[in-house]
Symmetry: C2
Subunit: 594 residues, 2 copies
């Protein structure tokens, strides 16, 4: 890596320090578990009334001023001792890294030209996998009644009993994606019983973007609240980009191995083989990918079902597999070799994200035969994965109008034995390119309320281009809104405390507290300052909507002051209070302070 | 008015011409009715495949290059002949305009200092009202079986039978806001049987903004799709601002007369009287305000119900009336004089928008006793208004978590005899100031699906400051998305055609058609060009997400080409097709064209 590669993430940290300097009302804190190396990060917001509010934090060590992060060294391997202590995994030489892994062809002799040291300058490491005969997945541990440090971590993070975490994982209703080769993550859980999670996609493409941009986007996305990140790179340097992202990511990383496999056959879908695919899965599992999208539900007989759709197959992975099936007129090699794939994933505790390759790409195609045929196959594959102790979630649409969303998730929950649903949107209309974070944020909030465990974000660039840093932030914030709105609607314990704290601050004109409690404090502060820039306005008992002469909140405070007692006291004392009010000069607003 | 005032709206037109220059794929067209002066505007999008799509158009004559608009002259009085021909109204001298109407005090002798000519330079006009004994509201006409030109206009606009329009108005399930003094409007209808409508709020405040900004915001809001505009001005020049807005507005204008009345008593709520209020209502009705928010449901006994709320009363009108009740310990003068108010509104065909002064201002306060007590009173007032032939809609919340939205609208529909619901959002969480267009867009889409007839937009500046031009656009576009998503979910005839046209264009890589069909063509084009700026990319059969080497849409097209027949033909011919596919070189993507 050149110095240039390392520079950009450093500048991200500079930005954060500056922002932290402005947002003095909060700091990074940790909740201690039963062991000294189990410390759950939280965002502690200090209010001007002396109280404080604790919020879930995904930003990783980057927002801790006491931790010296260096993107060339990678994050500290938080889970390493936990993994080693279990004694059920072993280090091994691993698959040699080849130039083809980065899309570089015919320029070097065959065989391992480079090793991991060359790919990433941080501490040397060898890949790790389960010893023969050992079941090393969180699902296996949960089933045999073990509460792992990872489970304790997420229990503290979610503020629930550790046994609830274990039970949900054991039942297959939740997953805890944590590859034994990704010890840097702060464990998190995906399941309808827990807070709704948000995934952000990053990844270079054949057309644009670079390694440093992707690492920066990952750091940026988690800073704003992404719970997991998928690296969907398709161009050059796929292997190296992923290594840098993994070594610096505090959240689980997902991929679609098929994308890299296709690069290895120069984009010729029909030249894909099970061997090339398997080799790619092992390559990525050794690097530490926590969950992988596998489009094993796109079966040969389903391909013709898409022929008369308005927008055919819109999933990239789905169309690759459809093209392969079409070229060979054979059943999908992913479907045929699914059990062997389960064995591989189990050895690293890679979680399945069973892809919906036939998801609808338009309102017209929602909930059609092709989609539900694939869903039934995903239900079948989910049961096979479970036999191999592989954690599994199911991917969902796509484009679905509001009135078809509930049918969609109800069917998924039924067919897939309540395995966590992981949905893209859904977009509730097709007519607003450039605003698909919003068309899909609507559907995302609804489907999450009805039980989706994780939402895959959509940025304003969807259908149009590759998201830049601003788009990533807009996508993440929009989806955090959808997720939190669903947490509220589901009555998740603690969710409303956050709203209440912000509403109290609003009612009491504690502007700084409003900003610090906001999902995006910087933008809230900036918008306020646009209309009322002066510093005194931050403590003013009015805002720019009504101005200083008349303020509804102020009147409400008067009412509360006058009617603060019981209902009986209120009714009884009202006439008397009215007289006092008049005697006091009928002041329902603050004096003009111009 | 100075030249400066006239300049800004002219520059809006310049912007539009420029944009029209870029967006050559559409033009303004008209659908002719049964009479030559009944021409319904539409936006005709011309696709590159020779087809065209007709979209609802709210932008008024400003987007018609054949119409010479001049903001100092105002729009042509489209409805004037229809109103005169009915013979049931009369012109009269009208109430003299006083300096106090614009918030100017003690600087001139009492009595009418200025006339309308001074307020607005356009053609001289006198106010009009119903003759004694005549019922001149669209509700009265509908009840006695008349289909007015206004009703025919909206029937053509909504693509429904005129008798459906008449029936819905007669039943009180829809309103057609059209003051006899606002002949400039292009009639529109608000009711759950029709397309979901969007209102945009504008208005200066004591803190900032000016007349020209407000006229510009109105033009801008309707250009992006606002169906009505509320002028919520509270500072100086209220009367004059409103006159300019009305004379230039192609959409119905709503107001909250209480805001101006409060200005007339220098912000002292307790000094408000029925006489001052009534005079203000007449002043505004003579100018042509089409609907008025009246907070007559905030009754004395309900005020204490808000005392222990988290955020008390957040409606400005609600808190003004609560303060008045509190100061006098008397029943609301709006409630007490409601029948007289009905008589006034009926004379001009001003539509009631019965305000929800006790709407919740936080998640914690949603669907509480105060809110529903007021709602029951609004149901009672709706029945009274109906006795006077006054068209009526009911305003709704506010802040409501997703799981309480349906209860809210179901209750409103039941209590208010299916009178049109007109809701602000609702916001589904409090934690995202600066993104409340999104927190509320989610709730807006849902409540519209369940029957809300018109959505009041929320901009990103909600709770923080006054919206600027960009915020107005963002708010309107977000709410057009919510409204259209609801139209789709309700199965509104024709709604899905728009989505289908855009999806077809997407599938066939007709980029220019995608842009021209988009809710916001300019931003969609801009986002596309950010990643792939070159002109050839507009006709490329790929996009920046997957790049030229592999494209899911392209594969789907191959599948469609190979499996375009019946299901039986597809299954039968599949093996054969597979061979052909291989023979043709297995080309599933276009050659690289770098």
């Amino acid at each position: 890596m050149t110095n240039k590669d390392a520079r950009t993430p450093a500048s991200v940290q500079d930005d954060m320090s500056q922002e932290a300097g402005k947002s003095i009302g909060w700091h990074k804190a940790y909740v201690e578990g039963t062991r000294s190396d189990l410390r759950v990060p939280v965002r502690q917001v200090h209010l001007t009334n002396g109280q404080s509010v604790t919020l879930y934090d995904t930003s990783g060590p980057y927002t801790d001023p006491l931790v010296d992060t260096d993107v060339r060294r990678g994050l500290a391997p938080l889970r390493e001792n936990w993994i080693i202590a279990r004694g059920d995994t072993e280090e091994y030489a691993g698959r040699p890294v080849r130039p083809e892994d980065d899309g570089i062809k015919h320029t070097a002799p065959r065989g391992g030209l480079r090793n991991l040291d060359a790919v990433f300058p941080g501490r040397p490491r060898q890949p790790r996998r389960g010893r023969a005969g050992e079941a090393v997945t969180q699902l296996a541990y949960a089933r045999r009644g073990e509460i792992t440090p990872e489970m304790e971590f997420v229990a503290l993070r979610e503020n629930v009993d550790p046994d609830v975490v274990r039970e949900e994982i054991a039942a297959g209703r939740a997953v805890l994606p944590a590859n034994v080769n990704h010890p840097e993550i702060e464990p998190m859980i995906i399941g309808k019983r827990f807070l709704v999670k948000v995934n952000a996609n990053i990844g270079n493409s054949a057309v644009t973007s670079s390694i440093e941009e992707e690492v920066e986007k990952m750091t940026w996305a988690t800073r704003w609240g992404a719970d997991t990140v998928m690296d969907l790179s398709t161009g050059r340097n796929i292997h190296t980009t992923r290594e840098w992202v993994l070594r610096n990511s505090p959240v689980p990383i997902g991929t679609v191995p098929l994308y890299q496999a296709l690069e290895k056959v120069d984009g010729r879908a029909e030249e894909l083989t099970w061997e090339i695919y398997k080799d790619t899965v092992i390559e990525q599992a050794e690097q530490g990918v926590d969950y992988m999208t596998v489009h094993a539900g796109v079966r040969l007989p389903y391909v013709p079902l898409t022929a008369r759709r308005k927008t055919g197959i819109v999933s990239r992975g789905g169309s690759i597999m459809a093209a392969w099936c079409l070229a060979h007129h054979k059943e999908s090699f992913l479907y045929e070799n699914f059990e062997e794939l389960c064995e591989i994933l189990a050895a690293y505790d890679v979680t399945y994200s069973l892809g919906d390759g036939l998801r609808p790409g338009s309102i017209a195609d929602a909930n059609d035969e092709a989609q539900f045929a694939e869903l039934r196959t995903l239900g079948e594959l989910n049961r096979i994965a479970r036999r191999f102790d592989v954690q599994t979630m199911i991917e969902g649409p796509g484009h679905v109008p509001m009135h078809k969303i509930k049918e969609n998730i109800d069917l998924q929950q039924e067919i897939c034995d309540e395995a966590p649903f992981y949905t893209l949107g859904p977009l509730t209309t097709d007519v607003a390119p450039a605003y698909d974070h919003i068309t899909s944020g609507i559907g995302a909030a609804m489907i999450a309320w009805w039980g989706t465990a994780m939402l895959c974000y959509v940025t304003p660039k969807e259908h149009l281009g590759l998201p830049n840093r601003d788009d990533v932030k807009t996508g993440v914030i929009t989806y955090k809104i959808a997720a939190h709105a669903a947490d509220l609607a589901k009555g998740h314990p603690g969710a409303q405390e956050w709203d209440d704290a912000l509403s109290d601050a609003r009612f009491e004109f504690r502007w700084e507290d409003q900003f610090n409690l906001a999902l995006d404090p910087d933008t809230a502060r900036e918008f306020h300052d646009e209309t009322l820039p002066a510093e005194p306005a931050k403590t003013a008992h009015f805002c720019s909507m009504c101005g200083p002469k008349f303020c509804s909140m102020k009147i409400s405070q008067d009412i509360r002051r006058e009617h603060g007692g019981s209902q009986a006291e209120i009714e009884e004392g009202m006439a008397q209070k009215s007289k006092e009010f008049a005697a006091a000069g009928n002041r329902v607003y603050l004096p003009l302070a111009e």
